[in-house]
Symmetry: C2
Subunit: 253 residues, 2 copies
């Protein structure tokens, strides 16, 4: 079971790095193979820096195991307490150069879309800002109801359609011209990404607390970020439209 | 009791803003007076941006009160559970333009130095990096043993000597020339500051969780930050000396 998931994830990781590496005229995905000294974890970290398309990006595979299920996994499912576990996955983070290239956008037309779209809106919400982190996407974790095979098929389908969904957007937008003000706004919004990742994101915090490889986990953090006290968004500007309209949970389709 | 502390803190806030505002040839400290709608908190936020000396800096006063002591305050002192509280303080954050101007450095020669110096080393430690956040300083909180008057005197003394201790360092170093590489290193180290503040710092997290004013709390975040995957520190460089020697707890005096 684990072997087939690992095999799929490694091949997906390769595909994604090849697809998006090929689009980049300046840089490519480096590869770091790592393992923990205690034998309980290993991974392959693939990071691209200073590319023509991605200012920074990472596609990470990791697999970790332990003698006792961590608290974050058993809180909602006490029947698993004290059980051994193995967890594996890939994690994708893209910080495009061009502010018009979106960072997360994985619409996937299925009957489950509505459910996981709402889950995404609820999850990627900055409590301390009373603000959504981004515009759209899908989120799900701990899927079990339908049995392993169905969940694995669903995961594979989302994974395998990622390139198909994201690549056309990238191709269309990577060459768009942008102003200095739009670049500033991108660096400002990246700050919200950092705040979410370090304060709230369960995956990040679990990784750090469980002694994961910090450099691989925090490769997610943006190459360049600005925090400005009371960032000034002009009324009726495109930036204002983003914050007041697009950053509100909505039915997009 | 609270009135005299508030009076002292407001005058200290003014003094610090005047002292360091006067050193800056480009910018000055703005003033934002704010209060919570429910009447349970108010403050004065003073922020300087794009100065000749400070790229960003803030000196914030705030006072908040509540019907029930928060958990972070009662965990070590259960006898206070359920009690009303009022908390007030000022918070200082400086992000200098020049990488040679330090961000926290408040040595204070007293018999208590050793104790609070160690407390600082222990507190400003990044668990997930196995790394100190900075070189030196003092840390203390929840001082009670000696009674209110003595603790207040001690706090006043630390506060009032801050300018005296920090100003000569600033004056000496603000004009030092630096290379692009040194600037890059400054932006890299600021990332550690962000990680500490958002993941570990009790004051920041308590502020955000208790519904404090987010813009005032997070004015602490640096104006410009870079995260680079596996930042390359050259062997035997000054940067290497900083990380391997100065960022280790040591007796400096």
């Amino acid at each position: 079971m684990i072997e087939q998931v690992e095999k799929y994830l490694l091949s997906l990781q390769n595909d994604i790095c090849e697809e998006f590496g090929a689009l980049d005229s300046k840089s490519n995905f480096d590869k770091d193979v790592w393992q923990r000294n205690d034998g309980r974890g290993r991974g392959i970290t693939r990071v691209i820096s200073d590319g023509s398309l991605f200012e920074k990006g990472g596609v990470n595979f990791s697999i970790i195991s332990g003698e006792k299920m961590p608290k974050s996994a058993t809180e909602l499912r006490p029947e698993l307490e004290g059980r051994k576990y193995t967890a594996l996955g890939i994690s994708l983070v893209f910080h495009p150069q061009n502010p018009f290239v979106p960072t997360t956008c994985k619409p996937f037309g299925k009957s489950v879309y509505e459910k996981y779209k709402k889950w995404c809106d609820d999850y990627f919400y900055l409590n301390h800002r009373d603000e959504q982190r981004g515009v759209g996407g899908l989120f799900f974790d701990d899927l079990n109801e339908e049995g392993f095979d169905t969940c694995f098929e669903f995961m594979k389908s989302v994974g395998s359609h990622f390139c198909e969904a994201y690549k056309p957007i990238v191709l269309k937008r990577q060459g768009m011209s942008f102003t200095e003000k739009q670049r500033e706004f991108q660096l400002f919004r990246r700050g919200r990404y950092v705040e979410f990742n370090l304060i709230q994101d369960r995956g990040t915090l679990f990784g750090l607390q469980s002694g994961g490889r910090t450099e691989s986990i925090l490769m997610s953090l943006p190459p360049l970020v600005k925090w400005t006290y009371q960032y000034n968004i002009e009324p009726n500007s495109e930036e204002e439209k983003l914050t007041s309209y697009f950053l509100k949970p909505r039915n997009w389709i």
